[in-house]
Point group: D3
Amino acid sequence: MASFLLKSFLVVLAVFFISSMVQASDPDILSDFNVPAESTIDGNFFTFTGTRDIFGSIIEKFTVTKVSKAEFPALDGQSVSLAVLQFPGGGVNPPHTHPRAAELLFVVQGSLEVGFVDTTNKLYTQTLQVGDLFVFPKGLVHYQYNSDWNKSATAVSGFGSASAGTVSLPTTLFATGIDDQILAKSFKSDVATIQKIKAGLSS
Amino acid sequence: MASFLLKSFLVVLAVFFISSMVQASDPDILSDFNVPAESTIDGNFFTFTGTRDIFGSIIEKFTVTKVSKAEFPALDGQSVSLAVLQFPGGGVNPPHTHPRAAELLFVVQGSLEVGFVDTTNKLYTQTLQVGDLFVFPKGLVHYQYNSDWNKSATAVSGFGSASAGTVSLPTTLFATGIDDQILAKSFKSDVATIQKIKAGLSS
Amino acid sequence: MASFLLKSFLVVLAVFFISSMVQASDPDILSDFNVPAESTIDGNFFTFTGTRDIFGSIIEKFTVTKVSKAEFPALDGQSVSLAVLQFPGGGVNPPHTHPRAAELLFVVQGSLEVGFVDTTNKLYTQTLQVGDLFVFPKGLVHYQYNSDWNKSATAVSGFGSASAGTVSLPTTLFATGIDDQILAKSFKSDVATIQKIKAGLSS
Amino acid sequence: MASFLLKSFLVVLAVFFISSMVQASDPDILSDFNVPAESTIDGNFFTFTGTRDIFGSIIEKFTVTKVSKAEFPALDGQSVSLAVLQFPGGGVNPPHTHPRAAELLFVVQGSLEVGFVDTTNKLYTQTLQVGDLFVFPKGLVHYQYNSDWNKSATAVSGFGSASAGTVSLPTTLFATGIDDQILAKSFKSDVATIQKIKAGLSS
Amino acid sequence: MASFLLKSFLVVLAVFFISSMVQASDPDILSDFNVPAESTIDGNFFTFTGTRDIFGSIIEKFTVTKVSKAEFPALDGQSVSLAVLQFPGGGVNPPHTHPRAAELLFVVQGSLEVGFVDTTNKLYTQTLQVGDLFVFPKGLVHYQYNSDWNKSATAVSGFGSASAGTVSLPTTLFATGIDDQILAKSFKSDVATIQKIKAGLSS
Amino acid sequence: MASFLLKSFLVVLAVFFISSMVQASDPDILSDFNVPAESTIDGNFFTFTGTRDIFGSIIEKFTVTKVSKAEFPALDGQSVSLAVLQFPGGGVNPPHTHPRAAELLFVVQGSLEVGFVDTTNKLYTQTLQVGDLFVFPKGLVHYQYNSDWNKSATAVSGFGSASAGTVSLPTTLFATGIDDQILAKSFKSDVATIQKIKAGLSS
């Protein structure tokens, strides 16, 4: 009987434990920082070395290396994250949104074609050179493209959230199982075309 | 000379005036409400009658009637807005996001197929009956569809912002002028298919 | 001994568990949504069916049906909730406040007399028809009244918080045990009158 | 013609000017402080001397001396304010709410009976001595009472908003013109009793 | 085996327990108040008596008595705290910052020299008398000094956070072990001078 | 007369204009972005080219190049900014705080010694290599030092505010005119030592 109660209790606690980890939030915190419960906290906790070799690597396909709360827990409660974007010649970062932050992109190598669309359906574009910055406002659809097929490009992006999130639109729309009929009606297209796009993205 | 100074000054003020109207923000306010500068404020200021005839109308195509800060200035600073969604038989509200709020949808007539995709690319769907509610989390791609071709459907949606904003994805992606090559690469498709979709949406 | 430590530990955890559930907060979240720890999350988690029969019911007394975080856990972290207000002929929603949100009321059946008082003690009133909306600013005292004794009225209200809270003033002031003398002095009345009102509200 | 345009323009600007002053908000600011446009800002701007004689005065009736954004503009954007509450023997601060902040009360002279009611209609009371503190949670109905008829009492209260606001419930409910019938129904009383209370508060 | 799993599980829970306590945050809460999990909550929970004797004590050295979330858990979620500052004649509160709140200081006895420096390196100073208030903007370096060697001074300060935090600059800079060379370069001084200051602060 | 009114009116508007520019705040905005009132907004508005040549320059002294709201107005309302930190061999960024944001530093060239002190007076240090990141929590004192006298170092830092602000502690404490006696008492030193440090910093 006691064992049953204990087990029940632990199940409840386990559920709560998992639940709470998902419930972390981005507001100002009431302490200097949020620490995971380790016996000793030192400078290593505030250090991320997972990108140590990033600048020496050869860029073969478009790659986003995120340094957000998921990869670097010390960011929890600090409302900031970074990402490194690496484009081979001709590489594209497909249209996407970040639900929880604006993005301030800084080109540190090569050049990029960038653009975003606001909620009035106006497209804003720019060609960026090394050392240029561009801001993609919060929640809006945007993309980057390295139009130079002979040279790779690298950018460092800052976000005003420890967990900006990313909604990749080709995948979200055409590779998650949304009904063909609904997509065909939505895009004023036909089921055959929708299926063709789905096939391309799933290959 | 004085005239020149005056004109310059007014231009600066005009610029600031336009700028400031765009800069309105959603946080808690330091007053009971924000009032436009009218000589007298009474109960009419807090009343919106633009939807008075909405329930009697015949629904011929999918229609969103927003009651947000733009239509109802008294909402400024109150962090809430509503919208009425009316679907004819077979009507669809294409995939879209609201950059600044979650949506809590309440079906008041008919039934709806709804869905959204989270940032891990998981699709969540549901069939809603009259009286059911569904919440679309903040910033995520979602849609609604009235699969009953013989009956219209109506929903009332609440938003936790006076200005949730809407990013319609078919329009944003394929009707704002994003370069065909960038779209073709992004959707792992070809320029011809992209142009076909663009043509459908622009007709 | 070990058993004693284990029990002590579990008590501490239990206390923390209860404590934490009360500590949930309304800010922007760092994830798409907050999930209770169930083994599988699907579309049902984001669906609320507790109001499915609400529109067919006969309205015999004033009724508020809340769909907030308490009833619909998926609203946690999404900063929005709704309520359905049903008034029989002559029904009143007594003066009250919502400590954590403004209310945007939408009349979907019948008509309502509404009013609120701001912090300068000014009363704002309005008569609303079907399809009209009215916003009650955050934290202010307000009421609704169906003055038509022959027709019921229904409203759907949106709130910019998942847990707006309600302070009913007749109950709060006269049915929670506040000392008669303090109330008599506060209302510049006498103990007999205070006790008469208390008696009416407790019957 | 030019004159007409100029006048129209100035009217628009004036409207905007008044409007904007009302729209001030409480969030974190992007500067060290918000300054009114004076030619020179020095230490006097951050100083409030309006309460310099407050501790020497004789307390004849209950008095609240607020030091909020309205009285002390330097508080704008700093999210804090204070008030001094002075009670003669037997003095009462009638039930009220602060829509925009919790109150942390510190008794610096005498003693006080205090209480508040939460949204579950539970009353919490306490008798406070000199040096004691009590917190009234945000938006809830509360009161203070100096039950010692022979000794005055003084408290200093802190608020987590530069403009907490106050809703005095006796005045709000019974001295702003809310319809007698609505109040009678709301308080489950009769029009004669409502009118008696109204008369007492208006005298 | 089961025992091992149980122990492992409890360790994980303990880690989470400690971690979560540190993660408390200051935003608006979704409940009236946050309660620790005690079997019964009454008025005592909202009362702090740790400062009951504060006004009768003799002030021998500068003393800050904080009433923040750490000392008074009921403040959690209420975004407000207070502190009592007591200065003997000639007493100083050294330059410091509060990372999470502005400070509104109220002189209740004696007089004080106060000052702060903004981010443009401008110093603002004032001499305060009994009953005067001064606001130190959020995050800026400030100090208070009782220049009257014959009279003590007392102030009550309000903060717009339940946990404002304090960074004492003499201690932070010269008594935490920052490398002498780095400090010498930073202060454009020499190692000997840095070590002299360090020695004074550590004695 | 009309002229006098006009002038008075314009003075009021000018005062408001200056005042409002200082009052800008960091919260979520109710629009996609905040625009200055230019006749046409295009991609250039969202682009910053002031750092185009930054990577080719020779680093002769420690230099911070900020890209915040002041330099790049499109960041207003987007809650993010970046800075480039360039250190010659042996260069130091003296102890300082950012009142309005945490800093996430990314070493893109060379190596850095970094450290910060929390509000419990604990020092956290680290030696960073190229590709490493370090987070300095919001509002805490921190520094960076390039201990390699033969090699320059460069870092890109992200901030979760469009206007993080900087409080340089050597300058704030010893070069803004704070009274020598107050500093001597605060640092438990003597006036001669304080004056020596002041002299070094002012030279």
